[in-house]
Amino acid sequence: MSLRGRPYEDRWGPRRARLIAGALALLFVVIVGRSAYVAVNGPGRGHNDAVAESVRRADIVDRKGEIMATSLAVWSIAADPRAVWDGKEVATSIASVLPSIDVADLTRRLSDTDRHFVWIQRGITPRQKQAVFDLGLEGLQFQQETRRVYPRGSLAGHFLGFTDVDGKGVEGAELAFNDRLSKGGAPLKLTLDAGVQHTLEDELEKAYADFDMKGGAGIVLDAATGEVRAIASWPAVDPNHPQGRSEAAKLNRAIGATYELGSIYKPLTVAAALDAGVLSTTETFDVSRPIRVGATPIKDHDPLQHPQAVTAADIIAYSSNIGVVEIARKLGVKGQKEFLGQVGLLSRLSYDGPQSAAPQPPPEWDALASATISYGHGLAVSPLAFAASYTPFANGGEYVKPLFLDPKSNLIDVSKIEKKRVMAKATAQTVLSMLREVVTRGTGANANAPGYDVAGKTGTAEKIGPDGYDSERNITSFAAVFPASRPQFVVLVMLDEAQPRTGDKRTAAYTAATIAGKVIARAAPLLDVQPVLETSRVEASSLRASEAVTQ
């Protein structure tokens, strides 16, 4: 009997069976195929593996590799109060390992079963976490986090800055180099030297013991390369606890603020005039009487001994306002502006690192402004910018910008560091010798550091108050180059409203110069600067003489 002749059910029965068998066979093939695929290729990647592992933020180290900032894995402990049987027992046990825990407060929070989540302690070390873990308490949760740590506390705190809870740079170097640090990898090596940095900060801290001051800043700069070996702002700030810093500590006075720095501008005025050929070293000036610029009288606070005929060297050594204004007049407004622009005092400095505050020039650069700027009033700049302006005196007339990244490890060719000639070599040497005289016979005697041939200039500038310049409040500063016999470093110390507790005058001669001298005496050995003492000079010269005779 043919299929066609069969009843309907009989005709479709075998076909259904074959279809079902085929489908089952296909399913079997798929299962076997997938099993073989899994056997050969593995189970495949879970979604957890798809999440990129977070990159560990790079460390920041000083020029010798000392750690300034690092990222550490820390632990945080939390709890679910609903899973805690006895809140007081848990709190007491945890407090035995973490003594800073407030037992009563934690007991109260752990007993609140309406809550699902309670932080117990954040940012504990792996050892502390293990100790808590070993207590075997119920309901605890451990979460790993990364925290930025500054193991040297407040050292270079202002410069380093800090990060937010997500590890993103918020201030200072952490912000300025955020892209580089976020990529992880090798530590970011700075030009700072932790030892010199400590010396500078320590002397600023001690300065507060000697002077009742509002703030201070200091910079140590390698004149040849612009490498900043130390940069500090006082009051110090601990980047581990940025929220706890005082209002006074928030400002980075070395970089982020501008000041009228007073008479430390005078050597720049003299250098500009000498280089322009409008002043000679033998030329004399009469500074016995105040002079008027428009309606404004300009006088010397401490009249010179023989004021009828003083040279530029005398004007610098004894800080004569009258004399330097006379020189500025000879130089002219245009020459003055051009020179100050060349030494980086009229525009924001451009370099890799936390940005310097933009200078504040006078609204109108007329004859009066030119006169006051010649002795450091009317043009406010950041201490960092000003320190860089003294590099030509140490470099034979060449200006160098500040550098914060260690050249060797950051692939910076030292020989290609831009040096801009801003004055003749002879001019630089002449002004340098004048600066040395400031310390040997002038207002900078307190900056003397035996053996280190300090050359520098004092600066005392009255601060602007609601009624103009306030004679009761001032900024005192000392800008130095040392050693004068073979210049290597520039040092700048600036103190805000420093009042000697001894009752001495509140001028730079008694305040900033003293601190600068102490900084140089302590930092020079760390900077590998060999002192040249008078006895050594005599011995060396007599030796050379005897050698010359025998030859």
Binding site: A36, A39, V40, G42, E66, I67, M68, T70, S71, L72, A73, T125, P126, V149, P151, R152, G153, L155, A194, G195, H198, T199, D202, A449, P450, G451, Y452, A521, R522, A524, P525, Q530, P531, V532, L533, T535, S536, R537, E539, A540, L543, R544
Partner: protein, 118 residues
């Protein structure tokens, strides 16, 4: 034909087992590598912690007083330095000499070189 099919099937089975075992071995190695990597991460973290602790413990404000109190050390003073020329001259003036070799007495010689008595 039937034998060929059996042999072929056996070869395929052996190859399949080999591939499976190779895969298992690779997975084991991968697991081992992951374990080692985790250990390396842990050690790296420990090193970071130790370095941070070292930096904390070697802070100049901590080391300075310890060096002063325990070792009586002071910061270097300029007077402690001298020019190399002056140093070489001083060494010449001092006429540094090594002590002369002292001739040992005869009795000591005998003690040193002779046979033990008794």
């Amino acid at each position: 034909m039937k034998r060929l099919l059996i042999v072929g099937g056996l070869i395929v089975a052996v190859l399949a087992v080999s591939v499976y075992r190779a895969k298992l071995g690779a997975e084991e190695t991968e697991t081992k590598i992951e374990g080692l990597q985790a250990e390396a991460r842990k050690v790296t973290e420990e090193i970071s912690v130790l370095k941070a602790e070292e930096a904390y413990l070697t802070r100049p404000e901590r080391i300075g007083p310890i060096a002063h109190d325990k070792l009586n050390m002071q910061p270097a003073q300029p007077e402690q330095f001298t020019a190399p020329e002056a140093l070489s001259r001083r060494l010449g003036e001092e006429q540094v000499r090594l002590p002369d070799t002292v001739e040992a007495p005869a009795e000591d010689k005998a003690k040193a070189g002779g046979k033990p008595k008794g």
